[in-house]
């Protein structure tokens, strides 16, 4: 058992190392130069010496492997570097953005999971009836919409036309709210992006829960329980739900990893100050340190979530544990 986990850990470590290399080289392989960010807007006027001076200030004149070693060294000390665009430590920027992303994607994940589990179980219970087909169609329909399209329509309708909700950002600028007023303000801003993101993601967990509930319902022991005349409600809660939740938990864990990467598209539509948008801008502007750092945070989270899901799954389901040992 211990050897098995050691082996897994090694594998994940390897994946992490490879992604680090990729995260480092991707920005540098992209065509285009960060020089404009580094030297200011009127970059064409620089003399050759000034260019070299700027590049060497940021160690960009060094050979790539040398840069990678410098990068690893800084990383080892927990230093994520300075943003070329903002002249601030990348770690500060990420810490500012992270809570907003977690708030939006995290609450969307929780909401859509709750709705997905409730309706997934109900739908399986009523398999083939209209409520099953109806809820399944509805959620797949929502899932089929381009999220930015749905978001923009909601903004146009509930923001610009009806003026029920703010149209951009996460807080009212310059309002200086404190305490509960600040919380209310954030929630007010959160409503539309959260609604959008929740609606387009319910289908995922809904379908999984529905499938696994159906599957559990077909198991021998449920048939036996039914034959014994146990009340349906009891069967659902005691036997079916517990087993059907297993794949749901794994999926939830895995999605947790992606929560950090944010949703560039939704963040763009709602001008939400999250990590996804930060990453997108860094890509467009070739802000290497921010790129490397956001990639790293995202990939590490995904890998950890994968690892935890791997850990949890066999603990919960004995069938996989034996399979894993082989």
């Amino acid at each position: 058992m211990l050897r098995f986990w050691g082996h897994k850990l090694l594998q994940y470590g390897l994946v992490l190392l490879i992604t680090l290399v990729i995260n480092f080289s991707l920005p540098r392989l992209m065509p285009g130069s960060p020089l404009e960010l580094l030297a200011g807007e009127d970059v064409g006027r620089l003399t050759t010496e000034e260019r070299q001076e700027v590049m060497s200030r940021h160690a960009l004149d060094q050979p790539v492997h040398q840069q990678f070693i410098i990068y690893l060294g800084q990383l080892g000390q927990g230093d994520l570097g300075y943003s070329y665009r903002q002249n601030r430590p990348v770690s500060t920027i990420i810490w500012e953005r992270l809570p907003w992303t977690l708030l939006l994607t995290g609450s969307a994940l929780v909401l859509s999971s709750i709705i997905g589990v409730i309706f997934g179980t109900l739908a399986a219970w009523r398999r083939g009836r209209f409520s099953d087909v109806g809820s399944m169609s509805l959620f797949i329909f929502l899932d089929s919409m381009p999220s930015f399209w749905l978001g923009m329509i909601l903004v146009a309708l509930f923001g610009a036309r009806l003026r029920w909700f703010p149209v951009f950002g996460a807080r009212t600028p310059f309002a200086d709210y404190t305490g509960w007023a600040a919380v209310a303000d954030v929630l007010h801003h959160l409503a539309l992006p959260l609604l959008t993101l929740t609606l387009v993601t319910i289908a995922g967990l809904f379908l999984i829960i529905r499938y696994s509930t159906l599957e559990t319902l077909g198991e021998q022991y449920i048939t036996v329980a039914r034959a014994k005349g146990l009340p349906e409600r009891l069967i659902i809660f005691r036997h079916v739900l517990r087993n059907a939740m297993l794949p749901g938990i794994t999926v939830f864990m895995l999605s947790l990893g992606y929560v950090v990467s944010g949703t560039t598209v939704i963040e763009t539509v709602f001008a939400w100050p999250g990590l996804g948008r930060l990453m997108f801008e860094a890509v467009i502007q070739r802000d290497y340190p921010v790129l490397q750092a956001t990639f790293m945070v995202v990939t590490v989270c995904v890998i950890i979530a994968n690892f935890v899901a791997d850990l949890l799954y066999p603990l919960a389901d004995p069938r996989v544990r034996t399979e894993g040992r082989q």
Partner: protein, 539 residues
């Protein structure tokens, strides 16, 4: 059951929506009401909110990011020695008197009395000398080159100083004097790495009181400003990247003006509607069809001229800009500028284009070749421009396909490392230059001189013409206005004839704003409303 499910969904949504919207106390609307209720002096408002598209760092001369609106905002916080008026004529600002010798080498200035920095320290001739020296020593792409002709600055006393140039600079009052911000010596004297220095103490009409990176800036009026207190008490700047979000915010009243120029199709919906209005005027930014003069067959001036003849630029202005633009002059210079030569004119004549191509032997060699016309994929106006040009060019027998690229990738092909001497790899590209590159006549050398190492730093098509080289060299040291205009006229004629690129159009500036909040905007010709004169009167 279906119904029940439906209602369940509905109830769930409602609960969720009501939980998220604090309907009882609507704090979001409050600040806006406050602003409107409290009367300023007459129409002028106490507080103004403006959207800008991206973060501009801590907004000092080394940390601001963009030419527009970054540089404009910078100059609300810092002052320049001179200031361009509405017609871009430099007027004394920090100084009251100036005189210059006949060669244009030795300049004498007297500072306005009683100017102070935001921290209360007096602004003296020492600060002026310090600033120009500092920019000379600590390289910055915009300032360092601009001050390179300054040989020496001599301080006579607190208020009097003279600047000695190494050679005459014809537009010296425009650039550097109206462009380069003055920084306080007592704050910057020990700063060795300006890129990571974030102080923003200036002497301008506004000072930054709060900066939340990536979100907001709060600018407060400088009550002790030497030209009187600015009209707007507070300017709150909000960063909104997305264009639709920006103008939606303007419509609902979350902001009062957007720094970005509005797209022409929205004018009808925002102009004179009551709550919002627009200010328009000519713009000095340019949209060009950049041609790689180095690559065959475009190294042949006949082929370039044929391209120019093939393009219907009036159709571009009418269709892409919906008329909100000025058709390009083949001499590059905007018709509203004093050095424009009205004798050069764009000629749209596809038949002549065909004749020229035949004369150049184009069809025999390149009749089947497909050329690439590059453009930035995130700028729909430019993509449309490219598509229409492709139709124009295909009609005269030049096969062109439009390629839309990520903007950094495009830069890398057209202007690798932003260094024209490093070569280029493209056929044709949609390109554009900002307003300063139109206004400052010295920049013509940068655009057209064939010495790519030193002079032709913006000559991204590697255009070569000996006469142009000589004329641009001469203009950079000519101070006599008559001779200057003569050279400008000659230059524009040569450019129209040899076509280094095709100047397509100059988009108008279209600024949407809410007049109830503030209505005293000054449109600086070609450069828009975001300038000091919108808040402070000329002395």
């Amino acid at each position: 059951m279906t119904k029940r499910l439906f209602y369940l969904c509905l109830v769930l949504l409602l609960i969720f929506a009501s939980a998220c919207s604090p309907t009882e106390d609507p704090p979001a609307a409050e600040p806006a009401d406050e602003v409107e209720d409290e009367p300023g002096n007459g129409v002028e408002a106490v507080s103004l909110r403006m959207a800008i598209p991206r973060d501009e760092g801590s907004l000092n001369p080394y940390t601001y990011v963009t030419g527009y609106p970054g540089h404009n905002l910078l100059l609300l916080i810092y002052d320049t020695v001179f200031q361009l008026d509405e017609n871009n004529v430099p007027q004394p600002w920090l100084v009251t008197d100036h005189e210059v010798d006949s060669e244009g080498i030795n300049w004498n200035f007297t500072l306005h009395d009683g100017i102070t920095w935001h921290d209360g320290a007096p602004l003296t001739a020492g600060d002026i000398k310090f600033s120009f020296d500092y920019y000379g020593e600590h390289s910055h792409s915009r300032w360092t080159n601009a001050v390179s002709a300054i040989e020496e600055i001599v301080i006579e006393d607190e208020l009097n100083f003279s600047i000695l140039l190494s050679e005459p600079v014809p537009a010296f009052l425009t650039n550097p004097l109206s462009d380069v911000p003055i920084i306080p010596e007592h704050i910057w004297q020990d700063v060795s790495d300006p890129d990571s220095f974030t102080d923003h103490t200036g002497s301008g009409p506004y000072q930054i009181t709060e900066y939340v990176p990536d979100q907001t800036y709060r600018l407060h009026a400088n009550a002790d400003y030497f030209l009187g207190k600015p009209a707007v008490e507070e300017i709150g700047m909000v960063i909104i990247e997305d264009q639709t979000a920006t103008f939606t915010a303007l419509r609902v009243g979350d902001i009062d003006i957007a720094s970005r120029s509005m797209q022409p199709e929205l004018v009808g919906d925002f102009a004179g509607e009551g709550e919002t209005d627009i200010i328009t005027g000519p713009g000095f930014t340019s949209s060009l069809l950049q041609i790689n003069n180095e690559r065959e067959p475009f190294n042949d001036p006949l082929v370039r001229k044929a391209i120019s003849r093939a393009i219907d630029i009036d159709d571009l202005v009418d269709t892409v800009m919906l008329g909100y633009g000025t058709a390009g002059s083949p001499g590059y210079i905007h018709p509203d500028l004093p050095h424009y030569n009205p004798d050069v004119e764009h000629i749209y004549d596809p038949n002549e284009a065909v004749t020229l191509l035949e004369e150049a032997g184009f069809i025999d060699t390149y009749g089947d070749h497909e050329f690439e016309l590059l453009t930035r994929s995130n700028d729909p106006l430019r993509v449309r421009t490219a598509e229409m040009i492709a139709v124009n060019l295909n009609a005269v027998g030049i096969n062109v396909s439009v390629q839309a690229l990520d903007s950094a990738t495009l830069d890398d092909l057209v202007w690798p490392e932003f260094d024209t001497s490093q070569g280029r790899d493209y056929d044709l590209s949609i390109w554009g230059w900002s307003a300063p590159i139109m206004i400052d006549p010295e920049r013509l050398g940068g655009l057209f001189h064939s010495d790519l190492e030193d002079r032709g730093t913006l000559n991204i098509g590697a255009y070569t013409n000996n006469n142009v080289d000589t004329l641009t060299e001469e203009i950079s040291v000519t101070v006599d206005p008559g001779r200057q205009q003569d050279i400008f006229n000659q230059l524009q004629v040569i450019l129209a004839d040899t076509v280094p690129f095709v100047t397509l159009y100059y988009p108008d500036g279209i600024y949407a704003y809410r007049p109830d909040t503030y209505d005293n905007w000054t449109y600086q010709n070609g450069q828009g409303v975001l300038n000091k004169l919108s808040f402070v009167n000329m002395p």
